[in-house]
């Protein structure tokens, strides 16, 4: 059962990383313009500026 002591923290840690990434993406406004994001792929020289509106 010692394996649990390693695997469970690892699983939780990975989950927490995912959650943190999700919250970060909300906070930086990445869900504000889903349709636009889909189309911006097609723009050749996407500008460096990533700030939201």
């Amino acid at each position: 059962m010692n394996i649990l002591a390693i695997l469970i923290p690892v699983a939780l840690l990975l989950g927490a990383v995912g959650l943190a990434a999700f919250i970060w993406s909300i906070r930086t406004g990445q869900y504000d313009d889903l349709d636009g994001a889909a189309r911006r792929i097609l723009i050749d020289d996407d500008p460096v500026d990533r700030s939201s509106d």
């Binding site: 939780l12 919250i23 504000d32 792929i41 700030s51 939201s52």
Partner: protein
């Protein structure tokens, strides 16, 4: 991808005029030390290329520090170095690219509040994380029940589950707890009460079980329940935000300022709300009159179709009264502001609308109707289970509580909380793809009950603009002359001539004489095209039944050109299809009876009335309602607005008057009438799916609840049954996406 192109071409001559306002500078918000920012609504953005063109052009300017187009909301955010007056230049750059740009009202912007949706999304993320991890641990426990897991390991896993689940529930459950508390404080109950009760009781009982080293813990069930319900709540919010956003987009298209002559002879832009009687306002051709007033200088033609339903332009000169909302067609005029505020024709219409709206409020959505008895039923069942086990069993109150909680979890209103919003989101997405904006949440349900459709004529069945009708009678030479003269003018009739005879080079000395027509020299001869008396044709018989233009050479009338308001290309087909599906179709118009009869016959509507006043329209709708009919009103004019508000459901074309669009449940774009049929079909289908989902949920409860009450539902069964029912109703809702069954594609 959802695409709505609010592009200017589709609106034709009815489009609200471009923003002339210099009040742009007032809309700029100061940022930092010497920077300003402006939010603009950009019309006509519909691909990646548009985004790139606008952003690159603006960023190429030295003073612009940031430019970003939000494609979903059609909003452009620009920030620049320097004074607020630069705003004009920025808007000009965007307009030079061929896009319409209108400043966002900061008040509307502030009220948009996406904070709620962000909070919900975050709660959903936390619940999702907790649900996945607790489920992972629970599966180990369930597997352990059949194998050799010892009590210590099981307790350890339970403790771990609780450690994840309890904070997650405390955080993610807040939207439900808050709403439930508010309902209880108000002395009534709503769907959030049983939800909160189920979640909190399940967590508490599980904690007690874990402390006591029990076999069953419901942590997994309570967090998954929360997760699914949050998904539904978020979708519901998004659907409503979408409806509100399209409403705001329409409001923004209004003219907000007027060009006023000040005392010292200079000109200034003044907000329409600040206009006072006695001021002199200049109105350019193609603009709508901002207020009721009297013409001081200038002669022009006025398009009053949006206000009265009258399809022909009318001449107006000094001393004539003009109404807010009518369009100045061909010459600049100055008007003296007459009545404002409460006294205008518009205010009168608004009063009629308010009266008409009374009947609307009675409508109750299916979800609310079900929720009304669902919530009490769930409470009674759970309480009965608890009481039953306490009285008839020796197992003790803890076990009784456990079974009561199982009942609460099993009866979770997922079908209402999740599947109904999914239907709504999918349906509004499908309508958007066809150029139909859904403006109110319950419009789809109301559409489903429709059995009678009442159309307005001008601008609804017809495109609301003139089309040349007697092209065959006119000789080749005259056609060429007419086309060249027409090229020198922007009058709607000139545009109709160009549309019929092709574009040509205007004669070099061509002049437009306002209120009369166009004159010019072609091959050494002086030609005129314009009003009949100006072309010397006063004695000749009228051409056709609508507007006309005459062509004269050296003062001799040679040919009359007739125009008519063109019927939308697919109007007859759409009306046929609606009749075939069993709808009763009627035509109510403010225009003259003979015109109404002609159009009605051409399209195939037998029930028709002309010369109907706004009050008359409302009265007719009331009559139909009293006869038990559910009416869909389709109209565009100011005169239709009260009827739109009075009808069971309503639609307007995107070219409609602002007031009408605000009243309408749905707004459709483009030149075709087909969206009416599409919307009705989607509404019916969405309603069918909603009812199916509610039925599925009830059947599921009828089967599962007895088991839960009898105490056979373990945490495993509860979690599986609840998740599978959620997935089932969601999958059913998604069938709408395929939607070929409506026969309109």
């Amino acid at each position: 991808m959802v695409e709505v192109a609010l592009n200017s071409q589709a609106h034709g001559p009815n489009r609200v005029g471009p923003v002339l306002s210099s009040d742009l500078a007032l809309r700029a918000i100061p940022v930092g030390v010497d920077e300003h920012a402006l939010n603009l609504l950009v019309e006509g953005v519909h691909c990646a290329n548009c985004i790139a063109r606008i952003e690159r052009t603006l960023r190429a300017r030295d003073d612009v520090t940031e430019a970003r187009v939000n494609f979903s909301t059609r909003r452009l955010y620009v920030r620049w170095h320097g004074v607020a007056d630069v705003a004009r230049g920025i808007v000009d750059s965007v307009e030079a690219l061929g896009y319409g740009a209108i400043p966002f009202d900061p008040d509307i912007l502030a009220s948009q509040g996406s904070a709620e949706s962000t909070a919900l999304l975050r709660a959903m993320g936390v619940a999702g994380f907790a649900a996945a991890n607790v489920m992972l641990l629970s599966i180990s426990v369930w597997a352990g029940l059949w194998s050799d897991m010892d009590a210590t390991t099981r307790d350890f896993l339970h403790w771990l589950s609780g450690l994840i689940a309890l904070p997650a529930i405390a955080y993610s459950g807040r939207p439900f707890f808050r709403s439930a508390l508010a309902a209880l404080r108000g002395g009534h109950t709503n769907m959030d009460v049983p939800i909160s009760l189920a979640v909190i009781l399940a967590a508490t009982v599980s904690l007690v079980e874990t402390i006591g080293g029990g076999v069953h813990a419901y942590f997994d069930a309570s967090v998954t329940l929360l997760f699914f319900l949050l998904v539904g709540r978020y979708l519901d919010l998004r659907a409503r935000a979408e409806a509100r956003r399209s409403a705001e987009r329409l409001l923004l298209l209004r003219a907000t300022s007027a060009l006023v002559e000040t005392g010292d002879g200079s000109l200034a832009y003044v907000a329409v709300d600040d206009l006072a009687p006695g001021m002199t306002v200049r109105v350019a051709p193609g603009e709508r009159f901002p207020v009721d007033g009297e013409i001081l200088r200038g002669t022009t033609d006025i398009d009053a179709s949006l206000v009265t339903g009258e399809s022909q332009p009318q001449g107006a000169g000094g001393g004539d009264t003009v109404f807010a909302g009518t369009m100045n067609l061909n010459a600049p005029v100055a008007i003296c502001v007459g009545r404002t505020g409460e006294d205008t024709l518009l205010a009168e219409i608004v009063r009629l609308i308010e009266d008409a709206e009374q009947g609307r409020a009675r409508f109750v959505r299916i979800a609310d109707r079900v929720a009304r008895w669902y919530a009490p039923a769930v409470h009674i069942l759970a309480a009965a289970t608890f009481a039953g086990w306490v009285v008839f069993s020796v197992a003790g109150w803890q076990v009784a509580l456990l079974h009561a909680v199982a009942v609460l979890i099993i009866t979770c209103p997922c079908a209402l909380g999740l599947a109904v919003p999914v239907v709504q989101v999918v349906a509004s997405g499908r309508l958007l793809k066809r150029g139909i904006l859904l403006r109110s949440g319950d419009a789809l349900e109301r559409l489903a009950g429709i059995d009678t459709i009442v159309f307005d004529k001008t601008g609804t069945l017809t495109a609301g603009r003139a089309v040349l009708t007697n092209g065959d009678e006119i000789s080749q030479t005259h056609r060429r002359v007419a086309a060249r003269l027409a090229a020198a003018s922007q009058h709607p009739l000139s545009r109709a001539v160009q549309a019929a005879f092709g574009t040509a080079q205007p004669p070099e000395d061509a002049r437009e004489i306002s209120g009369c027509g166009v004159t010019g020299t072609i091959d050494g001869v002086s030609w005129r095209m314009g009003r009949r008396d100006w072309c010397g044709a006063a004695q000749l018989p009228a051409k056709g039944t609508g507007s006309e233009l005459w062509l004269s050479r050296d003062g001799n009338p040679l040919a009359g050109i007739a125009f008519d308001d063109a019927v939308r290309p697919d109007a007859a087909r759409t009306v046929d299809a609606l009749l075939a599906r069993g709808y009763q179709v009627e035509l109510l118009s403010g225009d003259r009876t003979e015109v109404v009869n002609r159009v009605g016959e051409a399209i195939g509507i037998n029930q028709r009335r002309g010369g109907v006043s706004p009050t008359g329209k409302v009265a007719r709708l009331r009559e139909l309602e009293a006869a038990g009919r559910h009416v869909l009103m389709v109209g565009d004019g100011l005169n239709d607005a009260p009827a739109l508000a009075a009808a069971h459901a309503s639609m307007s074309p995107a070219s409609a008057a602002d007031v009408s669009q605000v009243q309408a449940d749905l707004v459709f774009q483009g030149d075709r009438l087909e969206p009416v049929a599409v919307a009705l079909a989607v509404g019916r289908q969405a309603n069918r799916l909603t009812k199916q989902n509610v039925a599925l949920a009830i059947i599921y409860n009828i089967i599962a609840v007895p088991f839960a009450m009898a105490g056979f539902v373990t945490p495993l069964v509860a979690a599986v049954a609840m998740s599978s029912s959620s997935l089932l109703v969601t999958a059913n809702a998604l069938r709408l996406k395929r939607g070929s069954s409506d026969g309109t594609t």
